[in-house]
């Protein structure tokens, strides 16, 4: 697809997702309290979007990822929370 065709197909979808994202950040910032490790990772990931990197999805995923290499001693939960707590 050309860039124009890509925009024709995906712009409206991306536009509402971007507005939804902005509204989420507004919602968090209206609420009392502090950011936790998830929101800190989120803000780090957001910065990846303006760096001009050609693999932005990959960089965003890496911003949320556990970078360590050693297994953890024991699994104390089954669920993932979306961001690595160790990044805070």
């Amino acid at each position: 697809m050309t860039r124009q065709q890509t925009l024709d197909l995906y712009f409206m979808d991306a536009r509402w997702k971007l507005i939804d994202l902005a509204a989420f950040i507004d919602r968090v910032e209206r609420a009392e309290g502090e950011d936790d490790f998830r929101m800190k990772a989120f803000r780090t990931a957001l910065m990846e979007l303006s760096k001009g990197n050609r693999e932005k999805a990959k960089q965003v995923l890496l911003a949320f990822s556990d970078p360590t290499t050693e297994p953890i001693p024991t699994a104390t939960t089954k669920a993932a929370c979306g961001a690595w707590p160790g990044a805070q």
Partner: protein
């Protein structure tokens, strides 16, 4: 499919699905004994194929104790001991979906035992990779572990749930990459096609998350439609959604499809 309604089978057949391949996975709760797994394996190899057959859909399954229940080593050993009794069932494709969930030491021990089981019985391997923040680390650990067992041919392994930060790692290891499609929270149809456009269409396929959570058994046909919108040719779509999985699964003698 064990947690889906029969309407899903109707919709899948109507959408052109040619077969369903169901991995052993977490039921949403921990089973209390190996006997619970025995019943589950009977369901996957006896009951569910009959239910699918009523809709003209061949049903295949994978067997294992999934990584979410691998923290209990005694339970895992008990389940591993009963799996060989089911390996000669006619719809069994191999060992899966094994892998890691939280990347713990016990999960790794159980993964090693599953890989050994697959090697001793010459089974294909389907691997679950962890979700979200645990995926990158888990994928690295899994790929390294499997590569270290020289009995396993990489081309007989599919590493599932890849995303943009893990797909190249898997392909570079000579293994197959599976992109699991979700309606929310994980890989979307558009991103799956992006990955194919960026990393190529060899040794890669797509599958639907199709479980008790928010999931869509028609995610693959919907992604085929998305490919058409982007101008992908019919041959390229067929390769990704049918020929590639058939090539990988065809390494198992049990995988036979009716003539199209």
């Amino acid at each position: 499919m064990v947690s889906r309604v029969t309407d899903d089978y109707t919709h899948m057949v109507t959408a052109g699905c040619q077969a369903v391949c169901e991995p052993a996975f977490w039921a949403g709760f921990d089973r209390s004994s190996a006997a619970g797994f025995y019943d589950y394996f009977c369901q996957l190899t006896e009951h569910e194929p009959k239910r699918a057959a009523k809709f003209g859909l061949p049903h295949f399954s994978w067997l294992c104790i999934n990584p979410k229940e691998s923290e209990d080593l005694k339970l895992a050993d008990d389940v591993l001991a009963i799996i060989p009794k089911f390996l000669d069932r006619p719809n069994v494709l191999g060992i899966g979906e094994i892998g890691l969930n939280k990347n713990s030491r016990n999960e790794i021990k159980v993964l090693e035992k599953h890989v050994d089981l697959a090697a001793r019985h010459h089974q294909l391997i389907l691997v679950h990779t962890p979700h979200l923040e645990d995926k990158l680390k888990g994928t690295r650990l899994i790929v390294d572990l499997i590569k270290s067992d020289k009995r396993i041919q990489p081309g007989r392994v599919i590493i599932d749930h890849v995303e943009e930060h893990t797909v190249q790692l898997v392909l570079d290891a000579g293994m197959w990459a599976g992109m699991t499609l979700y309606p929310e929270s994980k890989c979307s149809p558009a991103r799956a096609i992006d990955m194919v456009e960026m990393y190529g269409n060899e040794q890669i396929w797509m599958n639907c998350a199709c479980d008790w959570g928010v999931s869509d058994p028609l995610a693959v046909p919907k992604t085929a439609l998305e490919m058409r919108k982007r101008g992908h040719r019919a041959e390229a779509i067929d390769k990704l959604v049918f020929q590639n999985p058939a090539k990988f699964l065809g390494q198992c003698p049990n995988f036979k499809l009716p003539e199209l």
